[in-house]
């Protein structure tokens, strides 16, 4: 059983997160349900990335509780594209395979299952032809597809996306959003996505959590759009 009795794969209860002595996220509660796309929105500095760090276990919660009902090996993460290390000597295959690693002591080599998972993920993301190429020599969109394949190779149940399309052009952004939707539909993933893209939220989001509102808004996407008056 990888969800609680309500069908949630992730529960965040009254969580407060502080950074450098300053409270950034205060008393936030929500549940991510099986197979839903929950959009995390809010202005820059509203605490979206901090909340994601808390969920990923990268920073401790000052208060409250974060529960991942499916186990950490079923969680995958995709951040915004970081192009600072373009000359890192890593092939696409090496990167996607690394996504199959799970916590704890494991065999020091990749098993046949690991290789099959990586091959499936590369096929799904249509990057097989780049398998032996160095990541730094791919375009930004291709690199982000590789990192998404690394996430998918884990066969996750929860996919956490932190502004995954920032710094990418509109065509590639549209393609990636389409991929997120199809992964949700085909694999039944639960997706928590931090984004500024209202088009994506209105088109694909099942629910919205808006931070730094008083109180924080959590509800259906249609209701959130109504509150915003359709304003951009």
């Amino acid at each position: 059983m990888n969800r609680n009795e309500n069908g949630a794969v992730l529960s965040v209860k009254d969580v407060t997160l502080a950074y450098g002595g300053r409270t950034v996220v205060e008393n936030v509660s929500f549940e991510l349900m099986k197979g839903e796309i929950l959009c995390l929105v809010g202005a820059n500095g509203s605490g979206k990335s901090t909340l994601i760090k808390g969920i990923l276990g990268l920073m401790p919660a000052a208060k409250g509780k974060i529960e991942l009902h499916c186990g950490r090996d079923k969680l995958a993460y995709l951040a915004q594209l970081n192009t600072t290390d373009r000359d890192f000597p890593a092939t696409v295959k090496e990167i996607v395979l690394s996504g199959t690693q799970t916590p704890g002591w494991r065999l020091p080599f990749y098993t046949r299952e690991n290789r099959e998972r990586a091959a499936e993920a590369m096929k799904l993301l249509r990057i097989e032809e780049f398998a032996d190429r160095r990541i730094g020599n791919l375009s930004g969109g291709q690199q982000q597809r590789v990192l998404l394949a690394r996430a998918i190779a884990r066969r996750p149940e929860v996919l956490v996306l932190d502004e995954p399309c920032s710094a990418l052009d509109p065509a590639i952004t549209g393609e990636l959003y389409g991929l997120f939707d199809s992964l949700r539909d085909s694999l039944g993933l639960s997706i928590l996505i931090s984004t500024h893209d209202w088009d994506y939220v209105s088109r694909s989001g099942d629910r919205v959590l808006e931070l730094h509102q008083e109180p924080e808004f959590l509800g259906e996407t249609g209701e959130w759009l109504k509150r915003k008056g359709g304003a951009r």
Binding site: L75, Q101, D132, R150
Partner: protein, 269 residues
């Protein structure tokens, strides 16, 4: 060249060759991770700490290794801890620690016996410094580094390529980083008496940078760094013996030539 092979009959020469090859191999493997993680200054900082600890050992008339190993290992943990917490200012922490250690070494030396032959040898290395114990220690260290590197290879790749993602997926990144720190400290201690405390970091940095240019994958970079490092050491030792030059500086010179030659090769796609 014949003279070099004849010289290998002498115990000090074959000891130097064995220790040098093994330490070069370990330093190159660790250097791949350190260079890619932008921790290459750690080797330099540990070399300076090694100098201070050797100066302390001479002043207190204690066996060098018994003082150097614990102090350099502690310093490596401290550097890694500060680098983790300080983020980008980790480089400043390393700079402070290394200059402080160098100053401490100079002060200890000047208030004790002055710059005698031992300290000078430690700073710039000596081919004569290797003992039977060093050979055994180097063999043990190499076995440990090769074993751990082989066992942790895929983990090290995941951590080196994307530390945040590794942490997010539940991998104990901090533990692996401290393992790398520990192995680096031991490698530096074993290599610094031959290469010199001032130059030991070159064994960590140069082969990795050369290999980074030549290799198209992490695995290829690791193998290339190991091969380049061992070949450069052997050539450097040969040059050092034939022309009576300091070993450390000769090995660094050969590594520098290899690095410059690698720049002539087009970058990998």
């Amino acid at each position: 060249m014949g003279a070099f092979f004849e010289a290998l009959q002498f115990p000090f020469m074959y000891r130097a060759l064995i220790v040098g090859v093994l330490v070069s191999l370990c330093a190159a493997l660790l250097g791949v991770v350190l260079v890619l993680k932008h921790y290459s200054l750690i080797g330099h900082g540990l070399g300076e700490v090694g100098f201070a600890s050797l100066a302390l050992a001479v002043a207190l008339d204690l066996p060098p290794m018994t003082v150097a190993i614990p102090l350099v290992v502690i310093a490596s943990f401290l550097i890694m801890y500060v680098s983790q917490r300080a983020g980008s200012s980790g480089e400043i922490a390393i700079a402070i620690l290394s200059t402080a250690a160098l100053s401490a070494g100079v002060l200890i030396t000047s208030v004790s016996k002055g710059f005698n032959i031992d300290v000078s040898g430690y700073m710039f290395g000596s081919i004569l410094a290797m003992t039977k114990t060093d050979v055994y220690l180097s063999a043990g260290l190499s076995a440990l580094v090769l074993l751990l590197y082989g066992l942790l290879f895929n983990r090290l790749f995941a951590i080196t390529y994307d530390e945040v993602n590794a942490r997010a997926t539940g991998i104990n990144v901090t533990m692996y980083q401290f393992v790398i720190s520990f192995l680096t400290a031991i490698t530096v201690v074993l290599g610094m008496r031959m290469m010199g405390t001032m130059l030991i970091s070159s064994l960590i940095i140069f082969p990795a940078i050369t290999a980074k240019r030549l290799a198209g994958s992490f695995k290829a970079m690791t193998i290339t760094a190991a091969v380049v490092s061992v070949i450069c050491f052997a050539i450097g030792l040969c040059i050092s013996f034939l022309w009576s030059l300091p070993t450390g500086a000769s090995v660094v010179g050969v590594n520098l030539v290899a690095l410059l030659l690698s720049r002539l090769v087009p970058a990998k796609n």
